[in-house]
């Protein structure tokens, strides 16, 4: 199949953009970095994956005074700052499973939670209309350029077609192994995202971003090589 025919059949294939490339680079760098079990990221994943109260306790020790400090800076009120510690750490506990290893540091994830909860807390206190919330106001992806836009999410869905041709399967072998593993689980073994995350023992968010990066790398390979 030549490149024109392939594009016709898979109209969503597009060459990799700089944005995809930088996301792939940052993930590759992360994948080769040694995993420190005592890092904030590891503690957060453990908190989410196995409801580890010990891991959560350590995160609490590390972050409560920083959260309190941000509260004092934004509210200049001790009680509100204590409330913020509770509010933010409760969100860290509740949302830990949604944390995505591939998209940012634990610091940045907790920072976003703290700032956003503080903002919503203050609006509620000032009885301002709740037409917009912090999550509407700040980019969901910590300002990185790797957020899944609705359009891209659609591409990802349609990417399942990719696995159906052997020519494309051969390109899979050129992907970093963690991405290959995810693509194999989803597109070849036809597992759900949840099942695959459990089998591979990675957070669901990480699975999704590896999948997305793998699919966009495939697009690049196909766009460049054919």
């Amino acid at each position: 199949m030549n490149s024109a025919a392939l594009r016709k059949e898979y109209p969503t294939l597009r060459p990799m953009s700089d944005r995809d490339q930088s996301a792939v680079n940052s993930v590759n760098a992360r994948l080769t970095a040694p995993v420190d079990p005592d890092s904030d990221e590891s503690l957060l994943v453990e908190t989410g994956n196995s409801q580890s109260t010990e891991a959560f306790n350590r995160l609490f020790q590390r972050y409560s005074s920083r959260i309190y400090a941000m509260g004092m800076k934004l509210t200049r009120n001790e009680q509100l700052s204590k409330d913020l510690v509770q509010e933010a750490m409760l969100n860290v506990w509740r949302k830990a499973r949604l944390y995505d290893l591939d998209r940012g540091t634990a610091q940045s994830w907790i920072f976003t939670i703290t700032r956003n909860r503080c903002f919503d807390m203050l609006r509620k206190l000032k009885r301002q209309p709740n037409c917009v919330t912090a999550d509407d106001i700040w980019p969901q992806d910590n300002g990185s350029e790797s957020a899944i836009l609705p359009e891209e999410a659609l591409h990802e869905e349609q990417g399942s077609l990719v696995a159906e041709t052997s020519i494309i399967a051969s390109y899979c072998k050129q992907l970093p192994e963690p991405q290959q593993a995810v693509i194999e689980q989803i597109y070849i073994l036809d597992r759900t995202h949840d099942e695959a995350a459990e089998i591979l023992k990675i957070p669901l968010g990480t699975l999704k971003s590896r999948l997305r990066l793998g699919v966009s790398k495939l697009r690049q390979l196909i766009g460049v090589d054919l």
Binding site: S65, L74, F111, K126
Partner: protein, 233 residues
């Protein structure tokens, strides 16, 4: 004149947006601009990384609070299953139609306009729809019909205008979609739009009209603003 001719928020403003220390109205217009401007999204990303670093690595005073009860309360709460990720709420308004134009709103503005927009005709071909966002700013969509002209006016505080569609001009230049225009109390201007222009504007105090008959409206204008604020609070 203190005019930022490159039509993007300054680094200082972006930094305050990152830190969450601005009034909501400002945050909303910044968020909308970021959605339309890749350059500023990149700068935002860099500033946020720097802010996170200084927040997580900088010195911090130990808090003399005993949070131990807090931890045991929190861990009794259920965790979100990953599948529960809340989907972003669909806004009922995602587009604004003006004459033969329609424009898809940035996400945050669609959300802010979700309760519906009530357009009022002002003098000079200007249409205004206020959005009640917070008590510190006055936020509004402005639609300048083709060939329209606002009266010469000056601002008591800051006015940010984000151009969403079309263009307008004043003595300092012409502004097009995604342009972020800040005017402060020293600036006196008289925007005109030949092709028509949809904007979102955030003011942190009432306008002071400085020309002709429009001056008569000054006290009323101030009164109306105070009334709006009082009504909101």
């Amino acid at each position: 004149m203190n005019i930022d001719l490159d039509c993007h928020p300054t680094t200082e403003i972006l930094n305050k947006y990152v830190q969450g220390s601005l009034p909501t109205g400002w945050n909303v217009v910044l968020s909308a601009h970021l959605e339309l401007c890749q350059k500023c999204r990149h700068e935002y990303g860099d500033l946020e990384s720097a802010e996170v670093l200084s927040w997580s690595k900088g010195p911090v005073e130990e808090v003399a609070n005993d949070f131990s009860d807090l931890v045991s309360n929190i861990i009794q709460q259920p965790q979100h299953a990953a599948a529960d990720t809340p989907l972003p709420q669909e806004s009922s308004i995602t587009e604004i139609h003006m004459l033969d134009h329609s424009f898809t709103l940035p996400r945050v503005l669609a959300k802010a306009a979700n309760d519906g927009l009530e357009w009022k005709k002002l003098a000079g071909g200007i249409n205004q729809a206020k959005v009640n966002i917070d008590t510190e700013t006055q936020c509004e969509f402005i639609y300048m019909s083709p060939g329209s002209q606002t009266p010469m006016h000056r601002h008591q505080g800051n006015e940010i205008t984000l151009v969403l569609d079309g263009s307008f001009s004043d003595a300092s230049g012409t502004y097009e979609a995604a342009d972020f225009v800040i005017r402060n109390s020293e600036d006196e201007h008289q925007p005109v739009s030949e092709e028509g222009c949809l904007c979102f504007a955030v003011l942190d105090s009432p306008l002071t009209f400085t020309q002709g008959l429009a001056r008569l409206f000054n006290p009323i204008n101030r009164f109306k603003f105070r009334k709006t604020i009082a009504h909101q609070s």
